[in-house]
Amino acid sequence: MTDLWQFLREPFQFAFMQRALLATLMVSVVSACIGTFVVLKGLAFIGDALAHASFAGVAAAFVMGGNIYLGALIAALVTALAIALVGSRARVSFDTAIGILFVGAFALGILIISRQANYTVDLFSFVFGNVLGVGRDDLLLIALMGLVVLLMVALFYRQLLFTAYDPTMAAASGVPVGLVQYGLLAMLGVSTVVALKAVGIVLVVAMLVTPAATASLLVRRVHYIMALGAVVGAVSSVVGLYVSYYAEVASGAAIVLTATVLFLLAFLFSPRRGLVTALWTPVPGG
C-alpha cells in the first residue's frame, strides 16, 4: 500500500511535474469545451490548421524576441479570420482554403527560423510540446487565455449551440450567425495556443478532438459532453504524465496516446453505441 502511494506520489514531488499537471488539467478543460464544438461541427482540420499556422507567430516572436504565446495567438487568430474570409468569398472550398493557408503560414514559420543560426530547444518545444518545461509565466498565460475561452463559451452558450445545431434557423431568429461563427473560430484559435506548450503543434488537435469525441460516445447532451470530455482529458493527462515519468517517454505523446486508448475503449464498449456492446445486444424487433 505504501509502495503504491509512493509510486503515485513520487513524480509530483518535483515542481516541474506539478506545473505540468496543472497546465495539462487546464488545457483539458479548455480543449474539451471548444473541442465539443469541433467534434460536432467537424472542425478538426481547422483546429489542426490553426495550431500549425501559429508556428509562424512563434517563429516571428522568437526572432524578434517578443512573447512567443502572443505571437502564436496573433498568427492563429489572423489565420482563423483568413480561412473564414477566403472560404466564404472566394470560389474555393473551405477545405482548400484551410489547406492553402495553414501550410503557407507554417512555411513562413520555417522560413523565418531558417534565418536563425541556432534552432534552440525552446522553439522546438512548441512543435513537439514540452509540458515539463512549463514555467510560472506559461501557467499564468494558459490560465488567462483559458479563462477567456471558458467565459465566452459560458456567456454565449445558447447562441453557440443554436448556431452549431441549425445555422439557418438561428439566422432566421435574429442570432448574428456570422459573428458567432467567427467568434467560435477565434476561440478555437486561442484554445490551440493554450494547448501548444503542453502537447506541441503536432498534437494539439488530439487534445481538442479525442476527449470530446470519447465523451460524445458516452453521453448525449452538449454540456455533458463538455464536462465528460474535460474529465477524459484530465485522466489522460494524469496517466500520461505517470507513463512519461516512469517509462521516460515524451509527455505530450504519452498524454495523447492515453486519450486515444480511452477513445478506443469507449468506441468498443460504449453502452449505447459500442462496437463490441452491439454484438451482445439483441437487435430490437420490428
Binding site: 460536432l40 452549431a164 445545431y165 441549425d166 434557423m169 432566421a172 431568429s173 448574428p176 460524445s216 448525449r220
Partner: protein, 277 residues
C-alpha cells in the same frame, strides 16, 4: 423595387396591415432562376397550401420571406416591415431532411431554441438575442410541446424520434416563438394518417386563432380537403385561390408539367405524382 401599378387608397391600407405581402419577387442561385415575378398577399387567419414540384421554388420563397435569401428584385413585407424586422413575428420549420438529427440535444433543448432571438411584443430586454431563458420561456416550451403531443418526450434525445415526431418537434419550435405567421416547409411529409390528422387539426386551430400559415406540401388532397387557399408555384405563381377553384387540370398541368398523372373521377380531377411518395 418593382413599380406597382398606381395603388388606390384601399390597396395602401391593405399593404400596411396584411401579414404577408410579396411583390414581384425574382430570386435564384448564381445564374439559376428559382422564382420569377412572384406576387401574393396573405390575410390573417388563413391556412395556405404552397404547392409545386421539387425545384419549383417553394423553399426559396420561404427563405426570401424570412430574409435568409436576398431576392434579385421585388420586396417582401411582413405586417408592413421588411423581413429582417418582420421575421420576429414569424415561426419557421425547415424541411426535416435539412436538420442534423444526430446532434446531441433533447427535444426540449430544440424547442427552447425557438425562444432565442428577437421576439415580438415584449420589453426591449426580452428582444435581445443574448437574453437568458426564464420561467416563462420554459412554460411556453412546455405548452408548445403539449400542443404537438410531444410532452412526454421532452427529455428524449432528438436522434431517437420517429419521422412524425421529428416533424412535430420542428412545428413546436416554430410555435415557441409565439408567431403570428407560420412558414412550414413540408411539415407533413412522411407522417402516418393519425399524426397527419393531428397536425392538420393543429393547423386549423392556429388559423382560427387568427394566425397566418403558409405550408409547403406535396399532399394535394390534404390541401384540397383542409386548406382555405392554395398557392400553386412553379417558379412563377401559377394560381392562387381556394383549392376548389384553382385545382383545375390546366393549373395542375402548368404547375407539375409532366410530373403528374391526372385521374378524372366522378367529376373531380385527382392528381398523382410520378416517382414521388
Amino acid at each position: 423595387m418593382e413599380e406597382v401599378a398606381a395603388p388606390s387608397l384601399q390597396l395602401r391600407v391593405e399593404a400596411e396591415e396584411a401579414p404577408v405581402q410579396v411583390r414581384g419577387v425574382w430570386a435564384g442561385y448564381d445564374s439559376h432562376v428559382a422564382l420569377e415575378d412572384v406576387s401574393f398577399s396573405l390575410e390573417r387567419g388563413s391556412l395556405v397550401g404552397l404547392v409545386g414540384p421539387n425545384g419549383s421554388g417553394k423553399s426559396t420563397i420561404l427563405k426570401v420571406m424570412l430574409g435568409l435569401h436576398r431576392p434579385w428584385r421585388g420586396s417582401v413585407r411582413l405586417f408592413g416591415e421588411g423581413p429582417a424586422a418582420g421575421r420576429r413575428r414569424v415561426g419557421y420549420a425547415p424541411q426535416s431532411e435539412l436538420v442534423d438529427w444526430s446532434f446531441p440535444v433533447t427535444v426540449e433543448d430544440v424547442v427552447g431554441m425557438g425562444r432565442i432571438g428577437r421576439l415580438p411584443g415584449r420589453a426591449a430586454v426580452r428582444a435581445s438575442p443574448w437574453r437568458r431563458p426564464d420561467p416563462e420561456d420554459r412554460r411556453i416550451v412546455g405548452r408548445c410541446l403539449e400542443r404537438v403531443r410531444l410532452g412526454s418526450l421532452a427529455k428524449r434525445p432528438i436522434g431517437e424520434l420517429s419521422g412524425g415526431e421529428q416533424r412535430r418537434m420542428l412545428i413546436a419550435r416554430a410555435l415557441a416563438r409565439e408567431p403570428e405567421i407560420l412558414l412550414l416547409d413540408e411539415p407533413m411529409a412522411g407522417l402516418d394518417a393519425a399524426s397527419q390528422h393531428d397536425v392538420l387539426h393543429l393547423f386549423e386551430g392556429l388559423r382560427d386563432e387568427g394566425k397566418t400559415l403558409l405550408v409547403a406540401t406535396h399532399d394535394l388532397s390534404c390541401v384540397a380537403g383542409c386548406f382555405n387557399l392554395a398557392l400553386l408555384l412553379n417558379r412563377r405563381l401559377v394560381a392562387f385561390g381556394p383549392p376548389s377553384q384553382v385545382f383545375t387540370r390546366d393549373n395542375l398541368n402548368a404547375t407539375y408539367e409532366a410530373h403528374l398523372i391526372f385521374l378524372p373521377f366522378e367529376g373531380a380531377v385527382y392528381a398523382r405524382h410520378h416517382g414521388h411518395d
